[in-house]
Protein backbone atom coordinates (compact mmCIF):
# COMPACT_ATOMS: atom_id res chain seq x y z
CA UNK A 1 0.00 0.00 0.00
CA UNK A 2 1.30 3.47 -0.72
CA UNK A 3 2.05 5.46 2.38
CA UNK A 4 0.03 8.39 1.22
CA UNK A 5 -3.51 9.25 1.97
CA UNK A 6 -5.76 10.54 -0.71
CA UNK A 7 -5.01 14.24 -0.47
CA UNK A 8 -5.11 15.29 -4.06
CA UNK A 9 -4.48 18.82 -5.26
CA UNK A 10 -5.24 20.20 -8.71
CA UNK A 11 -2.51 19.50 -11.26
CA UNK A 12 -2.67 23.08 -12.56
CA UNK A 13 -1.24 24.17 -9.22
CA UNK A 14 2.29 24.00 -10.65
CA UNK A 15 4.11 27.27 -10.16
CA UNK A 16 7.20 26.27 -12.09
CA UNK A 17 8.02 28.15 -15.27
CA UNK A 18 10.57 25.61 -16.54
CA UNK A 19 10.17 23.69 -19.79
CA UNK A 20 8.35 20.37 -19.87
CA UNK A 21 10.31 17.31 -20.96
CA UNK A 22 7.59 14.67 -20.86
CA UNK A 23 3.89 15.20 -21.18
CA UNK A 24 1.33 12.43 -20.96
CA UNK A 25 -2.34 13.17 -21.52
CA UNK A 26 -5.25 10.81 -20.86
CA UNK A 27 -3.10 7.71 -21.22
CA UNK A 28 -5.14 4.53 -21.46
CA UNK A 29 -3.97 0.94 -21.33
CA UNK A 30 -5.87 -2.33 -21.10
CA UNK A 31 -4.26 -5.77 -21.06
CA UNK A 32 -6.36 -8.07 -23.15
CA UNK A 33 -6.02 -11.64 -24.32
CA UNK A 34 -7.06 -13.01 -27.69
CA UNK A 35 -7.47 -16.44 -26.14
CA UNK A 36 -11.02 -17.48 -25.15
CA UNK A 37 -11.74 -16.93 -21.45
CA UNK A 38 -8.65 -14.70 -21.16
CA UNK A 39 -8.77 -11.91 -18.58
CA UNK A 40 -9.13 -8.27 -19.52
CA UNK A 41 -7.45 -5.85 -17.11
CA UNK A 42 -7.98 -2.13 -17.43
CA UNK A 43 -4.78 -0.67 -15.98
CA UNK A 44 -4.73 2.99 -17.00
CA UNK A 45 -7.86 4.96 -17.73
CA UNK A 46 -6.95 8.63 -18.06
CA UNK A 47 -3.51 9.11 -16.57
CA UNK A 48 -2.22 12.63 -17.14
CA UNK A 49 1.03 14.19 -16.00
CA UNK A 50 3.67 16.71 -17.01
CA UNK A 51 7.33 16.49 -16.03
CA UNK A 52 9.41 19.64 -16.21
CA UNK A 53 13.17 20.00 -16.35
CA UNK A 54 14.99 20.06 -12.98
CA UNK A 55 12.01 18.43 -11.29
CA UNK A 56 12.09 15.36 -9.09
CA UNK A 57 8.70 13.71 -9.33
CA UNK A 58 7.51 10.64 -7.45
CA UNK A 59 4.80 8.27 -8.62
CA UNK A 60 3.45 5.91 -6.00
CA UNK A 61 0.78 3.24 -6.06
CA UNK A 62 -0.04 -0.18 -4.72
CA UNK A 63 1.04 -3.47 -6.27
CA UNK A 64 -0.58 -3.90 -9.67
CA UNK A 65 -1.75 -0.31 -9.85
CA UNK A 66 -0.03 0.16 -13.21
CA UNK A 67 3.09 2.15 -12.26
CA UNK A 68 5.50 0.13 -14.39
CA UNK A 69 2.99 0.07 -17.24
CA UNK A 70 2.79 3.86 -17.09
CA UNK A 71 6.57 4.15 -17.08
CA UNK A 72 6.96 1.79 -20.05
CA UNK A 73 4.43 3.87 -21.98
CA UNK A 74 6.27 7.09 -21.05
CA UNK A 75 9.56 5.53 -22.19
CA UNK A 76 8.02 4.17 -25.38
CA UNK A 77 8.56 0.44 -24.98
CA UNK A 78 4.87 -0.30 -24.55
CA UNK A 79 2.08 0.85 -26.81
CA UNK A 80 -0.78 2.77 -25.24
CA UNK A 81 -4.40 2.24 -26.21
CA UNK A 82 -5.31 5.89 -25.97
CA UNK A 83 -4.08 9.34 -25.02
CA UNK A 84 -0.89 11.13 -25.98
CA UNK A 85 2.75 11.10 -24.89
CA UNK A 86 5.20 13.82 -25.91
CA UNK A 87 8.91 13.74 -25.13
CA UNK A 88 11.75 16.23 -25.42
CA UNK A 89 15.45 15.49 -25.10
CA UNK A 90 17.23 12.25 -24.30
CA UNK A 91 15.79 9.62 -21.99
CA UNK A 92 17.50 7.41 -19.44
CA UNK A 93 15.38 4.45 -18.35
CA UNK A 94 16.08 2.21 -15.40
CA UNK A 95 13.49 -0.58 -15.49
CA UNK A 96 12.35 -2.44 -12.39
CA UNK A 97 13.88 -5.73 -13.58
CA UNK A 98 17.55 -5.55 -14.47
CA UNK A 99 17.20 -5.70 -18.24
CA UNK A 100 20.80 -6.51 -19.05
CA UNK A 101 22.60 -9.28 -20.92
CA UNK A 102 23.42 -11.74 -18.14
CA UNK A 103 26.56 -13.20 -19.68
CA UNK A 104 28.29 -9.95 -20.51
CA UNK A 105 30.70 -8.33 -18.10
CA UNK A 106 29.87 -4.92 -16.66
CA UNK A 107 32.46 -3.32 -18.98
CA UNK A 108 30.99 -5.07 -22.06
CA UNK A 109 27.50 -4.04 -20.97
CA UNK A 110 28.49 -0.38 -20.77
CA UNK A 111 30.23 -0.58 -24.15
CA UNK A 112 27.13 -2.10 -25.77
CA UNK A 113 24.59 0.33 -24.36
CA UNK A 114 27.01 3.24 -24.74
CA UNK A 115 27.33 2.49 -28.46
CA UNK A 116 23.53 2.65 -28.63
CA UNK A 117 23.61 6.13 -27.11
CA UNK A 118 26.10 7.12 -29.80
CA UNK A 119 29.03 7.59 -27.42
CA UNK A 120 32.56 6.83 -28.56
CA UNK A 121 34.65 4.25 -26.70
CA UNK A 122 36.75 6.81 -24.83
CA UNK A 123 33.67 8.64 -23.52
CA UNK A 124 32.06 5.34 -22.51
CA UNK A 125 35.19 4.33 -20.58
CA UNK A 126 35.34 7.72 -18.87
CA UNK A 127 31.65 7.73 -17.86
CA UNK A 128 31.77 4.09 -16.80
CA UNK A 129 34.79 4.73 -14.56
CA UNK A 130 33.07 7.74 -13.01
CA UNK A 131 29.80 5.86 -12.34
CA UNK A 132 31.62 2.80 -11.00
CA UNK A 133 33.54 5.03 -8.62
CA UNK A 134 30.41 6.90 -7.54
CA UNK A 135 28.38 3.74 -6.89
CA UNK A 136 31.40 1.75 -5.71
CA UNK A 137 31.53 -1.22 -8.05
CA UNK A 138 34.95 -0.64 -9.70
CA UNK A 139 36.20 -4.09 -8.70
CA UNK A 140 33.33 -5.71 -10.59
CA UNK A 141 33.89 -4.10 -13.99
CA UNK A 142 35.22 -7.36 -15.44
CA UNK A 143 32.65 -9.54 -13.68
CA UNK A 144 29.74 -11.00 -15.59
CA UNK A 145 26.36 -9.50 -14.74
CA UNK A 146 24.92 -12.88 -13.69
CA UNK A 147 27.77 -13.25 -11.18
CA UNK A 148 26.96 -9.98 -9.41
CA UNK A 149 24.84 -9.66 -6.27
CA UNK A 150 21.32 -8.24 -6.65
CA UNK A 151 22.38 -4.86 -5.30
CA UNK A 152 25.35 -4.60 -7.66
CA UNK A 153 23.20 -5.67 -10.62
CA UNK A 154 20.85 -2.83 -9.72
CA UNK A 155 23.78 -0.38 -9.62
CA UNK A 156 24.73 -1.43 -13.16
CA UNK A 157 21.07 -1.27 -14.22
CA UNK A 158 20.94 2.33 -12.96
CA UNK A 159 24.33 3.21 -14.44
CA UNK A 160 23.17 2.16 -17.92
CA UNK A 161 20.38 4.73 -17.61
CA UNK A 162 22.86 7.41 -16.51
CA UNK A 163 25.65 6.66 -18.98
CA UNK A 164 24.73 9.32 -21.55
CA UNK A 165 23.75 12.05 -19.06
CA UNK A 166 20.12 12.14 -20.22
CA UNK A 167 17.75 15.10 -20.05
CA UNK A 168 15.10 13.03 -18.30
CA UNK A 169 15.54 10.01 -16.07
CA UNK A 170 12.73 7.51 -15.61
CA UNK A 171 13.51 5.23 -12.70
CA UNK A 172 11.30 2.28 -11.77
CA UNK A 173 11.98 1.17 -8.17
CA UNK A 174 15.61 2.25 -8.63
CA UNK A 175 16.89 1.61 -5.13
CA UNK A 176 15.70 -1.98 -4.74
CA UNK A 177 18.53 -3.99 -3.17
CA UNK A 178 20.66 -0.97 -2.31
CA UNK A 179 22.41 -0.86 1.05
CA UNK A 180 21.97 2.30 3.15
CA UNK A 181 25.17 3.93 1.89
CA UNK A 182 24.27 3.39 -1.76
CA UNK A 183 20.73 4.59 -1.04
CA UNK A 184 22.15 7.86 0.31
CA UNK A 185 24.53 8.14 -2.66
CA UNK A 186 21.57 7.63 -4.97
CA UNK A 187 19.66 10.58 -3.47
CA UNK A 188 22.72 12.84 -3.41
CA UNK A 189 23.25 12.02 -7.05
CA UNK A 190 19.64 12.70 -8.07
CA UNK A 191 19.77 16.07 -6.26
CA UNK A 192 22.91 17.00 -8.21
CA UNK A 193 21.34 15.93 -11.50
CA UNK A 194 18.13 17.84 -10.81
CA UNK A 195 20.20 20.93 -9.95
CA UNK A 196 21.89 20.59 -13.35
CA UNK A 197 18.49 20.55 -15.09
CA UNK A 198 17.74 16.83 -15.38
CA UNK A 199 14.11 15.87 -14.86
CA UNK A 200 13.76 12.75 -12.72
CA UNK A 201 10.74 10.51 -12.24
CA UNK A 202 10.95 7.89 -9.50
CA UNK A 203 8.34 5.16 -9.36
CA UNK A 204 7.96 3.25 -6.14
CA UNK A 205 5.30 1.36 -4.25
CA UNK A 206 6.07 3.65 -1.36
CA UNK A 207 8.01 6.85 -0.84
CA UNK A 208 9.65 7.46 2.49
CA UNK A 209 11.17 10.90 2.26
CA UNK A 210 8.57 13.12 0.65
CA UNK A 211 10.55 16.31 1.03
CA UNK A 212 12.99 15.04 -1.55
CA UNK A 213 10.32 15.38 -4.25
CA UNK A 214 8.93 18.44 -5.96
CA UNK A 215 5.71 16.60 -6.67
CA UNK A 216 4.24 13.23 -5.87
CA UNK A 217 1.46 11.52 -7.79
CA UNK A 218 -0.53 8.57 -6.64
CA UNK A 219 -1.71 6.12 -9.26
CA UNK A 220 -5.10 4.87 -8.25
CA UNK A 221 -7.87 3.27 -10.30
CA UNK A 222 -6.00 3.97 -13.51
CA UNK A 223 -5.49 7.70 -13.06
CA UNK A 224 -2.93 9.94 -11.36
CA UNK A 225 -3.82 12.18 -8.47
CA UNK A 226 -1.35 14.78 -7.42
CA UNK A 227 -0.52 14.76 -3.74
CA UNK A 228 0.36 17.75 -1.68
CA UNK A 229 3.95 17.03 -0.61
CA UNK A 230 3.63 19.03 2.63
CA UNK A 231 0.50 17.12 3.61
CA UNK A 232 2.15 13.85 2.70
CA UNK A 233 4.99 14.57 5.05
CA UNK A 234 2.52 14.91 7.89
CA UNK A 235 1.00 11.60 6.93
CA UNK A 236 4.26 9.67 6.95
Amino acid sequence: MPNLENKSVPDNDQTTTSEWVIRGTDIEKTYDSWLPFGRTVEVLTEATLTINESELVGIVGGNGSGKSTLMKILVGVLERDGGEVERRGTIGWCPQETLLYDRLTVRETMQLFGSGYGLDSATIRERQAWLADRFEYEEYLDTRVDHLSGGNQQKVNLSVALLHQPDVLLLDEPYTGFDWETYQTFWEFTDELAAQGTAIVVISHFVEEHDRFDRIYELQDGSLERQNVADSEEVS
Partner: protein, 242 residues
Protein backbone atom coordinates in the same frame (compact mmCIF):
# COMPACT_ATOMS: atom_id res chain seq x y z
CA UNK B 1 28.21 6.62 -34.11
CA UNK B 2 28.41 4.70 -37.39
CA UNK B 3 26.31 1.58 -37.92
CA UNK B 4 29.25 -0.85 -38.28
CA UNK B 5 30.71 -0.43 -34.76
CA UNK B 6 27.21 -0.69 -33.27
CA UNK B 7 26.56 -3.89 -35.23
CA UNK B 8 29.93 -5.26 -34.09
CA UNK B 9 29.05 -4.49 -30.49
CA UNK B 10 25.57 -6.05 -30.77
CA UNK B 11 26.69 -9.16 -32.69
CA UNK B 12 29.66 -9.62 -30.34
CA UNK B 13 27.31 -9.43 -27.36
CA UNK B 14 25.00 -12.04 -28.92
CA UNK B 15 27.87 -14.45 -29.65
CA UNK B 16 29.37 -14.03 -26.18
CA UNK B 17 25.96 -14.62 -24.61
CA UNK B 18 25.60 -17.87 -26.59
CA UNK B 19 29.12 -19.21 -26.10
CA UNK B 20 29.30 -18.33 -22.40
CA UNK B 21 26.35 -20.60 -21.64
CA UNK B 22 28.04 -23.87 -20.57
CA UNK B 23 25.12 -25.98 -21.80
CA UNK B 24 25.49 -24.58 -25.32
CA UNK B 25 29.21 -25.40 -25.42
CA UNK B 26 28.57 -28.87 -24.04
CA UNK B 27 25.93 -29.48 -26.72
CA UNK B 28 28.23 -28.20 -29.48
CA UNK B 29 30.99 -30.60 -28.44
CA UNK B 30 29.00 -33.64 -27.38
CA UNK B 31 25.85 -33.70 -29.47
CA UNK B 32 27.22 -34.29 -33.02
CA UNK B 33 29.25 -37.47 -32.22
CA UNK B 34 26.52 -38.76 -29.90
CA UNK B 35 23.79 -38.25 -32.48
CA UNK B 36 25.77 -39.81 -35.32
CA UNK B 37 26.50 -42.84 -33.10
CA UNK B 38 22.85 -43.16 -32.06
CA UNK B 39 21.64 -42.87 -35.66
CA UNK B 40 23.94 -45.70 -36.68
CA UNK B 41 22.49 -47.84 -33.90
CA UNK B 42 18.89 -46.92 -34.65
CA UNK B 43 18.81 -46.82 -38.43
CA UNK B 44 20.57 -50.11 -39.21
CA UNK B 45 17.75 -52.30 -37.77
CA UNK B 46 15.14 -50.08 -39.39
CA UNK B 47 16.76 -50.45 -42.81
CA UNK B 48 16.10 -54.18 -42.66
CA UNK B 49 12.35 -53.62 -42.28
CA UNK B 50 10.14 -54.40 -45.30
CA UNK B 51 9.20 -51.39 -47.40
CA UNK B 52 12.19 -49.34 -46.26
CA UNK B 53 14.85 -48.75 -48.86
CA UNK B 54 17.77 -46.76 -47.52
CA UNK B 55 20.88 -45.67 -49.37
CA UNK B 56 24.25 -46.67 -47.91
CA UNK B 57 25.46 -44.22 -45.30
CA UNK B 58 21.92 -42.95 -44.70
CA UNK B 59 22.39 -43.20 -40.93
CA UNK B 60 25.52 -41.04 -41.03
CA UNK B 61 23.89 -38.45 -43.25
CA UNK B 62 20.74 -38.41 -41.12
CA UNK B 63 22.75 -38.06 -37.92
CA UNK B 64 24.81 -35.19 -39.28
CA UNK B 65 21.71 -33.42 -40.56
CA UNK B 66 19.81 -33.87 -37.29
CA UNK B 67 22.74 -32.66 -35.16
CA UNK B 68 23.19 -29.61 -37.39
CA UNK B 69 19.48 -28.81 -37.51
CA UNK B 70 18.86 -29.24 -33.80
CA UNK B 71 21.91 -27.27 -32.66
CA UNK B 72 21.34 -24.44 -35.11
CA UNK B 73 17.64 -24.37 -34.24
CA UNK B 74 18.42 -24.12 -30.54
CA UNK B 75 20.81 -21.31 -31.31
CA UNK B 76 18.15 -19.31 -33.16
CA UNK B 77 15.56 -20.06 -30.50
CA UNK B 78 17.78 -19.06 -27.55
CA UNK B 79 18.96 -15.97 -29.36
CA UNK B 80 15.42 -14.68 -29.79
CA UNK B 81 13.95 -15.75 -26.44
CA UNK B 82 16.96 -15.02 -24.24
CA UNK B 83 17.54 -11.49 -25.44
CA UNK B 84 14.02 -10.27 -26.20
CA UNK B 85 13.58 -8.07 -23.11
CA UNK B 86 17.11 -6.67 -23.07
CA UNK B 87 16.85 -5.95 -26.80
CA UNK B 88 13.89 -3.66 -26.07
CA UNK B 89 16.08 -1.68 -23.71
CA UNK B 90 18.76 -1.53 -26.37
CA UNK B 91 16.18 0.12 -28.63
CA UNK B 92 15.35 2.67 -25.91
CA UNK B 93 19.10 3.34 -25.69
CA UNK B 94 19.24 4.40 -29.30
CA UNK B 95 19.50 1.30 -31.48
CA UNK B 96 17.02 1.16 -34.33
CA UNK B 97 14.80 -1.96 -34.06
CA UNK B 98 16.01 -3.07 -37.51
CA UNK B 99 19.62 -2.79 -36.30
CA UNK B 100 18.90 -5.05 -33.34
CA UNK B 101 17.08 -7.56 -35.52
CA UNK B 102 19.92 -7.55 -38.05
CA UNK B 103 22.42 -8.09 -35.23
CA UNK B 104 20.41 -11.08 -33.99
CA UNK B 105 20.22 -12.57 -37.50
CA UNK B 106 23.95 -12.05 -38.08
CA UNK B 107 24.70 -13.68 -34.73
CA UNK B 108 22.54 -16.65 -35.68
CA UNK B 109 24.26 -16.95 -39.07
CA UNK B 110 27.78 -16.76 -37.67
CA UNK B 111 27.06 -19.24 -34.91
CA UNK B 112 25.20 -21.42 -37.44
CA UNK B 113 28.44 -21.56 -39.44
CA UNK B 114 30.24 -22.73 -36.32
CA UNK B 115 27.62 -25.44 -35.79
CA UNK B 116 27.93 -26.62 -39.41
CA UNK B 117 31.74 -26.69 -39.08
CA UNK B 118 31.66 -28.81 -35.94
CA UNK B 119 29.15 -31.29 -37.36
CA UNK B 120 31.04 -31.52 -40.64
CA UNK B 121 34.33 -32.33 -38.91
CA UNK B 122 32.56 -34.87 -36.69
CA UNK B 123 30.84 -36.43 -39.71
CA UNK B 124 34.14 -36.77 -41.55
CA UNK B 125 36.16 -38.07 -38.60
CA UNK B 126 33.60 -40.28 -36.88
CA UNK B 127 32.09 -42.10 -39.90
CA UNK B 128 33.46 -44.30 -42.69
CA UNK B 129 32.06 -41.94 -45.26
CA UNK B 130 34.52 -39.78 -47.21
CA UNK B 131 32.83 -36.96 -49.07
CA UNK B 132 33.73 -36.79 -52.77
CA UNK B 133 33.56 -33.00 -52.52
CA UNK B 134 34.14 -31.95 -48.92
CA UNK B 135 33.55 -28.25 -49.48
CA UNK B 136 30.15 -28.87 -51.06
CA UNK B 137 29.28 -31.30 -48.27
CA UNK B 138 30.13 -28.58 -45.77
CA UNK B 139 27.98 -26.18 -47.82
CA UNK B 140 25.04 -28.60 -47.55
CA UNK B 141 25.37 -28.72 -43.76
CA UNK B 142 25.75 -24.93 -43.71
CA UNK B 143 22.48 -24.72 -45.64
CA UNK B 144 20.80 -27.01 -43.11
CA UNK B 145 22.18 -24.87 -40.26
CA UNK B 146 21.01 -21.65 -41.88
CA UNK B 147 17.48 -22.96 -42.49
CA UNK B 148 17.09 -24.44 -39.01
CA UNK B 149 18.59 -21.42 -37.25
CA UNK B 150 15.81 -19.41 -38.86
CA UNK B 151 13.24 -22.08 -37.92
CA UNK B 152 14.49 -21.55 -34.33
CA UNK B 153 14.06 -17.78 -34.68
CA UNK B 154 10.46 -18.27 -35.84
CA UNK B 155 9.68 -20.73 -33.03
CA UNK B 156 11.25 -18.37 -30.48
CA UNK B 157 9.13 -15.48 -31.70
CA UNK B 158 5.99 -17.65 -31.73
CA UNK B 159 6.34 -19.26 -28.31
CA UNK B 160 8.46 -16.75 -26.43
CA UNK B 161 9.78 -19.54 -24.20
CA UNK B 162 12.74 -21.86 -24.47
CA UNK B 163 11.11 -25.05 -23.22
CA UNK B 164 8.08 -25.03 -25.50
CA UNK B 165 10.17 -23.95 -28.47
CA UNK B 166 12.79 -26.66 -27.85
CA UNK B 167 10.14 -29.37 -27.67
CA UNK B 168 8.63 -28.37 -31.01
CA UNK B 169 12.11 -28.03 -32.48
CA UNK B 170 13.30 -31.50 -31.46
CA UNK B 171 10.10 -33.06 -32.76
CA UNK B 172 10.36 -31.25 -36.09
CA UNK B 173 14.08 -31.92 -36.58
CA UNK B 174 13.58 -35.60 -35.76
CA UNK B 175 10.74 -36.14 -38.22
CA UNK B 176 12.56 -34.06 -40.79
CA UNK B 177 15.93 -35.85 -40.62
CA UNK B 178 14.33 -39.30 -40.63
CA UNK B 179 12.05 -38.24 -43.48
CA UNK B 180 14.95 -36.87 -45.51
CA UNK B 181 16.87 -40.17 -45.47
CA UNK B 182 13.76 -42.20 -46.36
CA UNK B 183 12.98 -43.86 -43.04
CA UNK B 184 9.39 -42.62 -43.10
CA UNK B 185 7.55 -45.05 -45.44
CA UNK B 186 5.31 -42.68 -47.34
CA UNK B 187 4.63 -41.91 -50.97
CA UNK B 188 3.40 -38.46 -50.01
CA UNK B 189 5.32 -35.56 -51.48
CA UNK B 190 4.82 -33.50 -48.32
CA UNK B 191 8.23 -34.56 -46.97
CA UNK B 192 9.88 -32.94 -50.00
CA UNK B 193 8.86 -29.56 -48.58
CA UNK B 194 10.35 -30.13 -45.14
CA UNK B 195 13.37 -27.94 -44.29
CA UNK B 196 16.00 -30.71 -44.52
CA UNK B 197 14.80 -32.28 -47.79
CA UNK B 198 17.00 -30.21 -50.11
CA UNK B 199 20.06 -29.96 -47.77
CA UNK B 200 19.92 -33.78 -47.63
CA UNK B 201 19.89 -34.06 -51.43
CA UNK B 202 22.84 -31.64 -51.59
CA UNK B 203 24.76 -33.57 -48.95
CA UNK B 204 24.06 -36.91 -50.62
CA UNK B 205 25.21 -35.62 -54.02
CA UNK B 206 28.32 -34.00 -52.55
CA UNK B 207 29.30 -37.14 -50.64
CA UNK B 208 28.57 -39.82 -53.22
CA UNK B 209 28.36 -38.06 -56.59
CA UNK B 210 30.75 -35.19 -56.11
CA UNK B 211 28.27 -32.87 -57.77
CA UNK B 212 26.20 -29.88 -56.74
CA UNK B 213 22.96 -28.72 -58.28
CA UNK B 214 22.40 -25.00 -58.73
CA UNK B 215 18.68 -25.62 -58.32
CA UNK B 216 19.25 -27.15 -54.87
CA UNK B 217 21.39 -24.22 -53.78
CA UNK B 218 18.72 -21.79 -54.97
CA UNK B 219 16.02 -23.80 -53.17
CA UNK B 220 17.93 -23.71 -49.87
CA UNK B 221 18.60 -19.97 -50.19
CA UNK B 222 14.96 -19.33 -51.14
CA UNK B 223 13.75 -21.40 -48.19
CA UNK B 224 16.06 -19.45 -45.86
CA UNK B 225 14.92 -16.14 -47.35
CA UNK B 226 11.26 -17.01 -46.81
CA UNK B 227 11.97 -18.07 -43.21
CA UNK B 228 13.94 -14.87 -42.60
CA UNK B 229 10.97 -12.78 -43.76
CA UNK B 230 8.60 -14.84 -41.60
CA UNK B 231 10.97 -14.50 -38.63
CA UNK B 232 11.17 -10.71 -39.02
CA UNK B 233 7.36 -10.45 -39.18
CA UNK B 234 6.90 -12.68 -36.11
CA UNK B 235 9.56 -10.87 -34.07
CA UNK B 236 8.21 -7.46 -35.05
CA UNK B 237 4.59 -8.25 -34.28
CA UNK B 238 5.08 -10.69 -31.43
CA UNK B 239 3.22 -13.95 -31.38
CA UNK B 240 3.52 -15.33 -27.89
CA UNK B 241 1.34 -18.45 -28.01
CA UNK B 242 2.00 -19.45 -24.44
Amino acid sequence: MAVAPRQRAAVGAGLRAFLRKPMNVALLVALPPAVIFMYELAVDPISAAPGIDLTPGAADLGGALFATAFLAGLLGLFQVVGTAQSDRRLVVCGYHPAEVLLARLLTVLIAGGLVAGITFVTFWVRTDVTPARPLVAFGALLGAALVYALVGVCLGALFGRELEGSLVLVFLADIDSFGSIGVVPTESAVLDYFPLATPHDMLHEAVYGGTVSGGDVATVLGYAGALAVLGVVLVAHGGDLT
